[in-house]
Symmetry: C2
């Protein structure tokens, strides 16, 4: 007896599917059924064909399907400053290059063009969701909507004035206004984003602690990025930044602590105990010689670690495939243990762990029935990935962003055979050239 078939939007057949949940699962010759933007089913190919009839049916031979990658720390508009001032120490780079350039050029127009460039780069490299921190987040929201991506936008706050706001009151007011505006947006949400302990004073940090609880949103902050940051805080206040944030009540499962390269055992225990998340940016930490985040130690302590690229001015890309590669390699050398953070764990860092950190794990981070259809397809059929003994290993250790062929967010096909469907690549490139000329003169 033929089973009655249901009519649905899309079926994707793939050689391999790594759903991330359940742990260490790898499906061979399975298919995903998508309807109304959600994963309707995940079964062996023939079972899907027996149950469903789809408007669109896509067969991806030699491809691995994974949950869309989640970039948990970036400054998307800074893509316009990619490679502007390389090979410099963090404070020289910030004080003498990045901040002066920002002071001169950052505007709504800059943020829109930079965010669109960033969204295009992220979609093409398999990222479906990002956690951002920059000025004019309401403008980045427009770029994200145009791209059809998912994002958590940081409501930035910094003690000095910018083109966006003049003081803590204005930063907070504008941030909360944006939060209210996005309240019913299914793809874009917000987090408070006080820049760093050394750029935000106690009073606004206290207000953010209170508001974050009231609004039930995360607090995204650079923390213990360099030894200098920690030493300077100690010499000025007698306190390490984590201790100060703890006194201010910021250490909780809401806290998204970025970088964290300088941690003693007590601090690791405290982070674990309070449930704060570590947003690990290995390439930025290496390039700026900030230090080594002890990811294996953090994992052993039960801390949730997610991955981020940081901004393209300090990375210099928004490529999560390469970031997974670097995170996997570096974890082993830092732990002095070649078995530390195997490929499967790294994929979790770039997917479900990011979703957990952002409070979005009921919606994204794994390919499970009922979750949103945020999916990335990676072609492992080329010379550079052959032979394939273990597809997840190949993804982490040999694949590159160029192997990403298709991307869906909430069932929408944003990248189709390597072509962007929502963004105009040519127009974005023209804007990049325009800003290059303008910033260079």
């Amino acid at each position: 007896m033929k089973i009655q078939t249901s009519k649905i939007d899309t079926i994707i057949h793939a050689t391999w599917i790594a759903p991330v949940e359940p742990v260490d699962t790898l499906h061979h010759h399975y298919s995903i059924a998508i309807h109304d933007g959600r994963i309707q089913d995940l079964l062996p190919k023939q079972d899907i064909l027996d149950k469903y009839l789809a408007d669109v049916e896509i067969t991806l031979d030699n491809h691995l399907l994974i949950p869309g990658l989640i970039n948990t720390h970036t400054h998307s508009p800074m893509s316009l400053m990619r490679g502007l001032a390389d090979d410099l120490p963090l404070m020289d780079w910030l004080n003498n290059h990045i901040w002066p350039t920002e002071q001169q050029h950052v505007s709504a127009e800059f943020v829109l063009d930079g965010s669109l460039l960033a969204c295009a780069e992220m979609i093409k490299s398999g990222t479906t969701c990002f956690n951002d921190m920059y000025f004019f987040p309401e403008i980045t929201a427009r770029a994200v909507e145009q791209a059809g991506m998912r994002a958590k936008l940081g409501l930035i706050l910094i003690d000095f004035p910018s083109a966006w706001a003049s003081d803590a009151d204005e930063y907070l007011a504008k941030g909360i206004e944006l939060h209210d505006k996005l309240r019913s947006n299914s793809l874009i949400s917000t987090a408070f984003a006080p820049h760093a302990p050394y750029t935000v004073s106690d009073a606004p940090l206290k207000r953010i602690t209170t508001y974050a609880e009231e609004l039930d949103i995360p607090v995204h902050i650079h923390l213990h990025e360099t030894a200098d940051e920690v030493e300077q805080a100690v010499s000025e206040s007698g306190q390490r930044p984590i201790a100060r944030l703890n006194e201010l009540g910021l250490l909780s499962p809401r806290l998204l602590a970025v970088h964290m390269t300088q941690l003693n055992d007590d601090e690791i225990a405290l982070i674990a105990e309070t449930g704060a998340h570590v947003l690990h940016c290995p390439e930025s930490n290496l390039k700026l010689a900030s230090g080594f985040c002890p990811t294996f130690k953090l994992q052993q302590a039960g801390i949730n670690i997610s991955l981020g690229t940081d901004g393209a001015a300090s990375n210099n890309d928004l490529d999560m495939i390469s970031e997974m590669h670097t995170a996997a390699l570096l974890a082993k050398a830092v732990a002095n243990n070649a078995s530390a953070l195997p490929a499967e764990d790294i994929l979790r860092m770039a997917t479900i762990n990011g979703a957990i950190a952002l409070g979005l794990d009921s919606e994204i981070g794994s390919l499970e029935v009922g979750k949103s259809a945020d999916i990335t397809a990676v072609d492992l059929g080329g010379i550079e990935n052959q032979p394939v003994y273990c597809p997840v290993s190949q993804l982490i250790y040999s694949a590159g962003r160029e192997n990403v062929t298709n991307v869906w967010v909430a069932g929408n096909h944003l990248l189709k055979d390597k072509e962007l469907t929502t963004l105009d690549e040519k127009a974005i490139l023209e804007k990049a050239h325009y800003w290059q000329e303008k910033i260079n003169t």
Copy 2:
């Protein structure tokens, strides 16, 4: 008055050319004239057009031309074991996975198919020359000839028998036979390749020292790869491996010392004094948790450092663009100095320094008039590399292997708009599938 034009083979016009020599030079809108496999001229575009008329004229807008990349340490046939046993410590990986697989499968056929797969991957990612170490080097020579690449093939020697040779005498005899056979080959030459201090005893190392001087070729060896290697040598013989090699007379400008993650200050001084070269493989060192090669310290000591990918079984790719990226990032974190090994220095490591190590710097390693036309073109026009403030920075920090579009070796166009001209990609992939099935069962 119109200048008389000469008839030549090829002209390449490019937006940027980084010739590597002279140091830190970057040409805008220059062109390269190629004749009889050599660089005939390098001038502003109009000057080239005034002087030469070419059979083939190629315009590469948005491209950076660099000397063909030189991968100074790999085991090319091991590409067939890419990702076979990841996330394991070095000795477990070697003893329980790689060596048993090799014992069962390595043959002339395996080496041919693996070498062809490796050559295809290397050409596609911009590598024009590689320094290899594996069994059946005469078979790898066939693959290299078919590919049209340049290589220095290691005359391997190891204390235990393999499918290629049964003892030191046979390894040496077969090696010297191949050396003689290749004596008049313009693209392929040889080096002795005793595997490592812990796998080759004193007697064959002494003979290699003598023969290397007589034949005037380098000695390519894994050295101080891990702390275990050094500790075990000390506990067995009371000597660190570098001290032993020094006693055996191996420390000289002929020595190509691979890995070198465990070095005290005296050893660094000794390496500098003797003129030995360090072949740095950052991704392999990280992945196998071997340790950190102190590249900035070595550079400060005046030691010549080149780059290698290691074999695809431990990397897991033969991608020199990604290796440059990792080398650049890691050097800074290890030196605790964000200005250590800037982009220009890293490009030198992957080109001229490699040529110097291999004794080929009169022929390759820079784009200079009279040298062989071994050239790689990298397209910086895509979203992921825009805007371009500094093309060499973009090459090291944001470009990927997929941005390589054209490759020439001795003027032969081996990669043409991303298509291999000398190798059959489909046939190579079929062989990779064949070996995957065979090794997996």
